[in-house]
């Protein structure tokens, strides 16, 4: 009887210790699994939040640009037109109008024309009606006409992405051009857009002064390009040296 009791005691002891070991193994594995799931959820939430913040920022920016465009078109352009009209009246009233007055009137006409096309390119409603290629062609023509530098633009006939996304893409390229104009002291910019079933690639090269990609403090321009590219679900690379800067964007066509 005693031997049976001792055997029962040993069996209970073994079952008991095994249960504890099994529980710990279960706990550690389950915890790691849940930890991983939790991590994935957290990453997804963070991305979602970041995306929402970026979208809001972009919407606000678009709205501001739109207001600025209206302001330029309705206010500044009108004032310049009135000035041009007054200059014309003065010119007609003078028997021998000086050459400077004629040049001034001509310059003012060009300024009004530039301002109107700039206002147009900033206006979101206007942009939504046209595709990115048309708008970029107009923007390139406008900048080429200013003779500050020469832009070469190679592109497919049409981009197969949503109008909303085309605006974002247009703003990215516009930002890159503005950066070159402001900081690079470049003579040439080459923009090449290629598109296939899955990928849209955009290469923007200039022959400017370049910058150190690793050490440069990222300004609004570069950050804007990075943010906007992320909104489109794509990637952006900056390669820069003393021979110029290359910006290379890859955007998924399906995801865009």
């Amino acid at each position: 009887m005693d031997q049976i009791d001792i055997n029962i005691f040993i069996v209970i002891g073994v079952i008991f210790s095994s249960s504890i070991v099994v529980f710990f193994i279960y706990f550690i594995f389950s915890y790691r699994k849940k930890q991983f799931e939790y991590h994935l959820k957290e990453v997804a939430l963070t991305n979602q939040l970041e995306q929402a913040i970026i979208n809001t920022k972009l919407e606000t920016q678009e709205e501001t640009l739109s207001i600025l465009s209206k302001e330029l078109h309705d206010n500044v352009a009108q004032l310049l037109s009135t000035t041009k009209m007054l200059l014309g009246v003065t010119e007609r009233n003078l028997e021998n109008p000086p050459d400077t007055l004629i040049v001034a009137e001509d310059t003012l006409s060009r300024a009004i024309s530039e301002l109107r096309s700039l206002a147009k390119s900033l206006d979101k409603d206007w942009l939504a009606q046209f595709n990115c290629i048309d708008n970029l062609t107009a923007e390139v023509a406008r900048i080429n006409a200013s003779k500050k530098l020469t832009i070469g633009f190679k592109h497919p006939i049409k981009l197969y992405i949503d109008a909303d996304k085309q605006i974002v893409l247009f703003r990215i390229i516009q930002e890159a051009i503005q950066n070159t104009l402001k900081h690079a002291n470049a003579n040439i910019i080459a923009i090449v857009i290629t598109e296939n079933d899955q990928l849209l690639t955009i290469a923007i090269n200039d022959d400017g002064l370049g910058f150190n990609v690793d050490t440069i403090k990222k300004g609004m321009g570069i950050l804007n390009i990075e943010h906007r590219t992320r909104v489109l679900g794509g990637t952006v690379q900056f390669v820069s040296n003393t021979n110029g800067t290359k910006i290379y964007l890859e955007l998924p066509v399906e995801g865009v």
Binding site: D5, F9, I20, F24, S30, Y31, Q35, Y38, E42
Partner: protein, 210 residues
Amino acid sequence: MSVRVIVYLIVLLLVSIKGIVSYKKLTAPFKYLTVYILLTLVSECISRYLAVTIKNSSPPYHVFVMIEYAILASIYKLLIDNTSVKKYITISIYVFCITSILNSIFLQKLMVYPTNMLLISYTLLLIDAFILFFQMLNHPIEQQLSKQAVFWFNTGLLLFCASVFFTIGSYNFHIRHGISNILINNINYYINLLFYILIGVAIWVNGKRE
């Protein structure tokens, strides 16, 4: 005093010192844990002294069993989020203390080791430990398990309660069958050591956090 007792007391002393040194850095549950370890050290010293002088180490355990349950249950009260469980813990502390006093007066008097109350105490704490483990599973955090003080504390307590619960049960069984208790005493001794080492790890990890 045997080498085993000295080793046991040294472990308790080291953990107590670590707790006192990092006391300010510790979070509330681990401050309680430091107090618990200190009181354990005091209680163990008294019981060893009584074991030599009056040949019975049981009297301090009648008081300590209440203090131990109150402190450990309070730690769980701080660590467990569920409000119903918190209420149950608060009530259980009062009920346990009253029951313990009644047990010492009527059932297991001062010179008898209070196994009844220890069994109840470890059963209740075992439940708390499981609740905390399931809470951890339901609300995981990104930190590695080995860097979570709560994990070490709960592991130590779960192992300790489960093992002591088992060894006390088998102790009674051995007495009834006239079997030697050497094996049980050894298991008990090493489980105690492991428990206090794990508590030391918990205090150390908690004190290290940023």
